[in-house]
Point group: none
Chain length 191, copies 4
Amino acid sequence: MKPKDQNKVEAIYRAMLGLVRQRGLAGITMQQVAREAKMATGTLYIYFKNKEALVVALTDKCVRHVASNLFRNYNADAPFKTGFATIWMNIVRHRIEFFNESLFIEQSFHSPFVSNETKLALKKSFDPLLLLLQRGKDEKIIKDVDSFWMLAFIIGGINEIARRVNYFNRKASQQVLETNFQLCWDGIKAA
Amino acid sequence: MKPKDQNKVEAIYRAMLGLVRQRGLAGITMQQVAREAKMATGTLYIYFKNKEALVVALTDKCVRHVASNLFRNYNADAPFKTGFATIWMNIVRHRIEFFNESLFIEQSFHSPFVSNETKLALKKSFDPLLLLLQRGKDEKIIKDVDSFWMLAFIIGGINEIARRVNYFNRKASQQVLETNFQLCWDGIKAA
Amino acid sequence: MKPKDQNKVEAIYRAMLGLVRQRGLAGITMQQVAREAKMATGTLYIYFKNKEALVVALTDKCVRHVASNLFRNYNADAPFKTGFATIWMNIVRHRIEFFNESLFIEQSFHSPFVSNETKLALKKSFDPLLLLLQRGKDEKIIKDVDSFWMLAFIIGGINEIARRVNYFNRKASQQVLETNFQLCWDGIKAA
Amino acid sequence: MKPKDQNKVEAIYRAMLGLVRQRGLAGITMQQVAREAKMATGTLYIYFKNKEALVVALTDKCVRHVASNLFRNYNADAPFKTGFATIWMNIVRHRIEFFNESLFIEQSFHSPFVSNETKLALKKSFDPLLLLLQRGKDEKIIKDVDSFWMLAFIIGGINEIARRVNYFNRKASQQVLETNFQLCWDGIKAA
DNA sequence: AATGAATGAGTTTTCATTCAT
DNA sequence: TATGAATGAAAACTCATTCAT
């Protein structure tokens, strides 16, 4: 009586994420995943019906992971800048630490597998930030710019930091992050 | 690779770029490319030795395309802000219009095909911008922030604009671009 | 410009039929079929979407083949016994000569692939015989037995002849067939 | 094969027989058998060395089952017709009731597992009937037709009755059986 | 003995590449 | 050159069998 092993699922996920970075999502073979996760190919199919199911499940997990981290320690009652800085730091740290997950999400969103539902879920996880931006605009703290584009500005900068940390093997010290936050903040703050 | 018929080559490139967006680079088959380019599979191999050669050639082309557009109309002798705005607009317009090319570059950089040389070439195409940023810092017009991270800030915002235009089917009017430029400018300009 | 090759389809069918006899339907691998048909495995998939499609197509073909042979040379206006003998001989000869097809039909009917439609088509191909039996009963030439069971009696005997010819490697001479027909005829004819 | 628990063995046999009808012998997986027999896959291997051993054992059992039923209540000293009718009824009833076993025998005979010995055993189980037919011929009660073909005629009709009862879900009443016997009898009886 | 997850060889299917036309 | 059927190596997936519990 051997129960299904949650560690195996984790190992499979870890293997996928590691490989995506090297080969790109569709360049990955199930054999590679199995080898990387130290199990037989057949075992993958005990845990996932097929490759598509694996991709879908991992995408969902990554999307939920993002959502669960975005607003950690965020207090909606704190002053605007405090709240915004908290979220900004959350996102940038998540993106850096779990860069492979972001990469995986991006790639899987370009595969024919992932549902619009999942795509929407990712988008909706940013809603509280949109709410906060609205409040900032109401309080005249930040510029009165369409939140869609302001979010682009904020997220874009963050993404690129994470990308560079990972691709150019740079360390993002607290100092660096604060400097970068300053650029972002000066960009959005009301004149 | 005997480009007797340059139209065919273009058709193949166009097919690749269109498909990458839908399926991701590695999800593409040569048959799909051929069908999309309205020719027989065998014909692809008249123009390109194999799939790798096709990916490499297209990557090179896209990288050269970026480089050739970045500094269009840029006058190194103009005032800093004028020059910077010119470049910023060049990049954002290129990224929006040729979004599929950017996507392709990103994906092909994750494939085992593309050489470091090509990757470096892309990086180097931004050198004049780095030069300009240095001048801006020297002239105390912009903040004294490591150009590596300042570039991240600038490019990140631009990337995200292009992404949103394409994924959310938004129109980026001159108005929108100027507003976004303002955010960026306020971010980098010296206090 | 090489057109799809009908000979290939025939070769595949022939290979399948030959193999079914040795291994049973589900014991056949696509590789075996390909080897037997003297082509590469991949080629099978040019002609048939997958194994199931191949089985279905061949089943249909065999069923249509039976139907097309049952009533060859049959003249509905001839005396009952003449007509009946014609059909009886048609069936027995078809079953003997194309024994592998019968075998294939039987096995594929036990697979999860084949539609009820196909099964019905086979059943319906016997309708003219049922009609003839009815006439024979009306004319008091044959016994007044439910045609369903009378058909069982007729067909059962024929099947077993074909089986024995093939399994025991016996020759079914005209003489033998006539003797066997006599058994059948004496069975059904009115007292 | 340690038949500690005969119930398990029976359950496995029952599962096999049920599945063969639906999927065909070679379409059956050990997992399906296990599920159907309400036990774990591993358990099958406690009772049978491997799949082949299971098929062989069940085939033997089915063949022995036929043999044991053919001549039940048969009295070699009774008049010919009485004896023949007894056997005919035995066979038809066995074939109808244990149709899945007949099916299984037929399919397993087409697999590479079953030995010629087993095939011969089945054939030999009909010997007493052949003997009886010879007596009938000697006594001029039945036609002087090669017993090989006369048996084909007799068995063929029986097989088809069983097939139709099972495939068309028809009930074979005593009445129906007697009618069918009459067809057979009229076929073989001397002119 | 019983279980069912794990294994990996074997099968089905795909796809880059070749080749006859 | 252009075609697309043919090829066969490689990928996805299955399943008989084993093994730790």
